[in-house]
Symmetry: C2
Subunit: 329 residues, 2 copies
DNA sequence: TTGAAAGCGCTACCAA
DNA sequence: TTGGTAGCGCTTTCAA
């Protein structure tokens, strides 16, 4: 019923081999022949059977994308970037959301690995050992994390933090709080490290106020601790947490940024939807997704040259209403 | 290199055919043999090659999921539901985000159709003709939309609206505004229709204030029109729009719900993150996703019995801070 | 209940 | 530059 390569061959008056070549190695086929084939393909509406092709080439034409929680508005952006770039190279993408269940991830990656040519892995929690083992089986590009020499797309947390701290210092803050994300999160560790060194260098005080789940509720939970710490500005692990802080601050009747400045990370869409809008470090989410696929494509073509492939993208501080000078009391 | 069915056969001391049967038609194999095969499979870590299987069975083990915009927090929930249910039946899911570009969707669906056994299609904008044509080629289940007899999972908008209106009327509102979503959106049309009949039946006034893009910016844009319309309560097409209204109302110094009550649809996570929290009609997003896959599985197994498969899920009004009695001026 | 053999649609090799 | 042929890994007849 579906039209096969034989049908095309017959219609074009050539052999199946020639059709195959005309499609996948056009250079090896005479222009005239190629044209005849092209026409037959169009006429019959032929689409190569991917399973058959995959069976012999060993490639699936699919890539996998694993994210910890699609509900976190950071990830849809990444997904879009991945999809877009994948489609440009005629790859389809399998998406898997692990619901932040790190143990599940390793299994998932393994299962997925069988069905794809490579995986873009965004898994802040999986253990390094697991990541390594999995990377041994399937080409992998990590997002927002570095593990050994596994190819990775990261966002320059150091620079981001420098921008953020410089901004707050310029406003006149001397005591900053940090509400941390999961201890195992690579991004969190990087941010914390950069925060320590930058504040030390600038001579401002840094209080590591709390460690919370990277969600709205985490911010709500940390808000009172932040207040008790007596800081005039607080940096949150991500926007979700920052929004939680803002929410609880509002409930307690604080003026933002008069009483306290709040700064987040990610620039999720909702950062702009609150009042005042959230100052945040914008992560190039789609670009990161695109870069991930890009790296993966290289990796799949020349697996040897792998190991060092890296992209470090630049974040950008977006100053909005939630940060301002501390009230000069 | 990868372990094949032959390896398993050799290890178990049976023929490949038997291994195949033991795996896909266990009933046809003697218990003892089956056990030997099972053991060999486990020992060698054998996973059937999907491409090879697909080549012969004509099935891919994949399903496609198409959503208009992953960035709208409504959809990640749906995606999660779809994935979960798909995984339970050992299907993988291809995700495609069409970025609200309706024309692109039809192509996308067609392309995807070749690589999957069925598609869950969430496409409020695609024309009916396109949907029909596409449904002729690939098993399809529609989400939140009805087109002819194509299987569909919907959410009972009529009941949802009745709950919402009853709530507002009970609070003492007599003049309601509606900020509509895209005219072509099935959900929007359903809601509008239910709104008209329910308000008529209840004797309250309904003003169709504006038609906007189903996004935050749409709500912001409509807010002043709502105010000018002089209603005491406004129902928004979805939470994103409602949040936009809330934002602009706040900017104009209105008290919520004192000056005006706001009610949304969807119960996206951010509905709870604003102050006051948004009263909204919760859509069972994950359940809808699950039901979509469920229907699809049936459809793929007995294509004949299709055509009438329907699931209408129940929405639930969540009363929160953004609705209250009108100020008795 | 099991095995042998054919063949799914395609690509890759070897000859011509 | 092209065609013939073999075979990817699996399922599915058909016979035994």
């Amino acid at each position: 019923m579906p039209v096969t390569i034989k049908d095309v061959a017959r219609a074009a008056g050539v052999s199946p081999s020639t059709v195959s070549r005309a499609l996948s190695t056009p250079g090896l086929v005479q222009a005239a022949t190629r044209e005849r084939v092209r026409r037959a393909v169009a006429e019959l509406g032929y689409h190569p059977n991917r399973a058959a092709r995959g069976l012999i080439t060993g490639r699936t034409g699919n890539i996998g994308l694993i994210v910890p929680d699609l509900t976190n508005p950071f990830f849809p952006g990444v997904v879009k970037g991945v999809q877009e770039r994948a489609r440009e190279s005629d790859y389809s993408v399998f998406l898997a959301d692990t619901d932040e269940r790190a143990p599940l991830e390793a299994d998932l990656v393994r299962a997925l690995g069988k069905q794809v040519d490579g995986i873009v892995l965004c898994s802040p929690r999986m253990s390094e050992a697991e990541v390594r083992s999995v990377a041994g089986e399937t080409p992998i590009v990590m997002l927002n994390r570095r593990v050994g020499r596994i190819p990775a797309v990261t966002i320059d947390n150091g620079e981001a933090i420098r921008q953020a701290v410089a901004h707050l210092v310029a406003l006149g803050h001397h005591r900053l709080g940090y509400v941390a994300g999961p201890r195992v999160s690579w991004s969190n560790r990087e941010r914390l490290r950069a925060l320590r060194s930058t504040t030390a260098a600038t001579g401002v005080e840094l209080l590591e106020v709390a460690t919370v789940v990277p969600q709205f509720s985490g911010g709500v939970a940390a808000a009172d601790l932040v207040l008790a710490a007596g800081v005039t500005a607080v940096v949150a692990y991500n926007d979700l947490v920052a929004l939680g802080l803002l929410n609880r601050f509002a409930a307690r009747g604080l003026a933002i940024p008069g009483d306290i400045s709040v700064l987040g990370f990610d620039d999720i869409v909702f950062a702009e939807m609150v009042n005042p809008a959230l100052t945040t470090v914008a992560q190039p989410k789609e670009a990161a997704g695109r870069a991930g696929v890009e790296l993966l494509l290289h990796l799949m073509e020349e697996p040897d040259r792998a190991g060092t492939a890296r992209r470090d993208l630049t974040a950008q501080l977006l100053v909005r209403g939630s940060t301002g000078p501390p009230r000069t009391a």
